[in-house]
């Protein structure tokens, strides 16, 4: 189910990218795709009944099936940060696009030849 939700989210992101005229919405769509992929990654590591992979007093010892797969979580941590970086650069680019072309709407932008 989580898989399907994340895939549908990817579809929504792609739909947004294809239909929206506002460039900031493109950035948001991209973010949605990123998030969807992240959800998907975490989901691939889930074990039914598994706990968060942290050794505490209550779960002091290792056993197969007790913890969920920690690797996808570590990967997602990286992927989130990358998404943030992309978003920051994209947003600042849009600030300048707005300054230069007086709009961030694809149809109203000025001076975008070729």
């Amino acid at each position: 189910m989580v898989y399907i939700i994340s895939i549908i989210l990817v579809g929504i992101g792609v739909y947004g990218l294809m239909t929206q005229k506002n460039l900031f919405k493109h950035l948001i769509s991209l973010s949605i795709i990123d998030t969807a992929v992240n959800i998907f990654i975490v989901a691939t590591g889930y074990v039914n009944g598994g706990k968060a992979p942290i050794y505490t007093k209550n779960f002091p010892s290792f056993a197969i099936g007790r913890f969920v797969d920690p690797l996808p979580q570590a990967l997602v941590l990286t992927a989130i940060v990358i998404g943030v970086g992309t978003l920051a650069v994209g947003a600042s680019l849009l600030v300048r696009v707005k300054e230069k072309h007086s709009s961030i709407d694809v149809e109203n932008m000025k001076g975008v030849g070729e």
Partner: protein
């Protein structure tokens, strides 16, 4: 030792953000160090690995240093070194270029799928930064969006590979038994994910905008970064997936060649025209890689090296012209050295004899005929025909049209570099071994999966 290739530029980048004025000399220092490191470890001729944090593969991350990654790193760093010689091109982008350098090196050297994704994203972000120079924001934004999509798909592919094999190590993935349907999913997603950086049709929409938007981006993105990306195509589809998914690449690449040349033909902007030509050449390289044999791959990288050298000269000269003259008619009458280098480089691109492009193009066609592939040579020759059209048109325009009275100073460093590189192209025609030897070793290393797996997984040592 080889981890220094990534560590040194990174460290210097971090340092230079504190002292902005140092960025340019530090970039030069980083490039020189990297070249020194590479020259000190000339062609390892075996698969050496460097394990990060001394966690053995497939558990930890490892850098792989074999003939293939050495040659790719050499080419990549060489162009960064050349760029670092031109301070007025670097301007305030020293930090970004250092990061780009570290990322390109990491992308080339890494033996881990997820790690390559991380480096690809660094490359995308720094490349976008570089592309936004000279207020080229909208095109940079488009590049960012496409790069973002590609990154997501690449990540998705990596996760599919992880769930299928239980590891992220390339060597392990290449030896693990993956079900056919799984392999389809992984290779499709990787083909698309890499397609953006490898400039495959139709994922190459960003190229003209980014290369055509300023004078720094094409010089470095069209040479180093595109070499790194195309190296990864060879590594993944040659070494890791043993040529599955090659059919997709082949078809897309052939379409790319024609589309790229046709689009270049109609371009009225000098930089954009050759941006499209670089798309077409990338198509040739990918199609050759998809053939999968070591010879074919070696020739692909030979061609790519020639193309990169020629493109460096072309973009360097074109960037100078476009941003110093409003009307390009007959400008080479004022810049004879630039003009001569430009002409030589473009003729090499077409594959006229006396220049390096001839050697690679003819060898590729010959190799294809010996593989009984009759379609690709025909496509390639048709593409070359179109190329002749616009290359001659531009040369005639830049040399012979009536000049205007605009004037700009001759760039001395850029002119010298362009001349040296274009003479290098002539030298390669006379003695192709200059590039061919390394490229062939690279091809062998990429095609030899067994050696790669053995080298990565059985050698358990830290190693400098």
């Amino acid at each position: 030792m080889i981890s220094l290739l990534i560590a040194i530029p990174l460290l210097l980048a971090f340092v230079s953000v504190m002292w902005k004025r140092l960025a340019k000399p530090l970039f030069f220092l980083a490039a020189v160090t990297n070249m020194t490191v590479l020259l000190a470890s000339w062609f390892p001729n075996s698969v050496e690995i460097h394990v990060m944090g001394s966690w053995k593969p497939p558990f930890g991350i490892n850098l792989v240093f074999d003939n293939a990654s050495f040659y790719a790193a050499l080419v990549v760093n060489f162009f960064f070194f050349l760029v670092s010689l031109m301070p007025n091109l670097v301007e305030s982008y020293g930090v970004s270029l250092m990061l780009l350098m570290a990322a390109a090196n990491g992308f080339v050297l890494t033996g881990d799928l997820f790690n390559s994704f991380v480096f690809m994203e660094i490359m995308t972000i720094t490349a976008v930064t570089v592309a936004s120079r000279r207020e080229n924001f909208y095109n940079a934004f488009k590049y960012l969006i496409l790069g973002g999509i590609a990154g997501s798909i690449y990540l998705l592919a990596t996760i599919f590979a992880y769930t299928a094999t239980g590891s992220l190590n390339m060597a392990h993935v290449s030896m693990a038994t993956i079900s056919a349907s799984s392999l389809v999913a992984i290779t499709t997603l990787y083909a698309i994910g890499l397609g953006v950086e490898a400039k495959l049709f139709p994922l190459n929409g960003w190229v003209s905008g980014v290369y055509g938007g300023n004078d720094l981006a094409p010089v470095i993105l069209g040479t180093s970064v595109s070499f790194a990306a195309l190296y990864m195509v060879g590594r993944l589809f040659g070494t890791v997936f043993h040529g599955s998914g090659a059919g997709v690449l082949y078809t897309l690449a052939l379409i790319t060649i024609i589309i790229g040349e046709v689009a270049a033909l109609r371009q009225q902007n000098l930089l954009k025209a050759f941006a499209y030509s670089s798309v077409a050449q990338a198509g040739v390289v990918v199609a050759m890689i998809s053939k999968g044999t070591s010879r074919a791959m070696g020739l692909a990288y030979f061609h790519l090296t020639n193309d990169a050298v020629a493109k460096f000269v072309i973009f360097l000269v074109a960037g100078f012209l476009v941003y110093n003259y409003k009307n390009l008619n007959g400008v080479f009458k004022k810049h004879k050295v630039l003009g001569a280098s430009f002409s030589m480089a473009t003729f090499s691109l077409v594959g006229f004899p006396l220049f390096a492009g001839f050697q690679s193009k003819l060898r590729i066609i010959m190799e294809l005929f010996s593989m009984k592939d009759y379609l690709f040579p025909a496509v390639m020759l048709l593409a070359t025909l179109i190329e002749v059209g616009y290359v001659v048109r531009w040369n005639v325009k830049l040399w012979f049209e009536e000049e205007t009275d605009e004037k700009a100073d001759n760039p001395i460093v850029a002119g010298t570099l362009a001349l040296i590189l274009s003479l290098l192209l002539v030298a390669v025609f006379i003695k192709p071994e200059i590039f061919l030897g390394g490229a062939m070793k690279m091809g062998n290393a990429l095609a030899d999966t067994k050696d790669y797996i053995h080298g990565v997984l059985s050698v358990v040592k830290g190693g400098m």
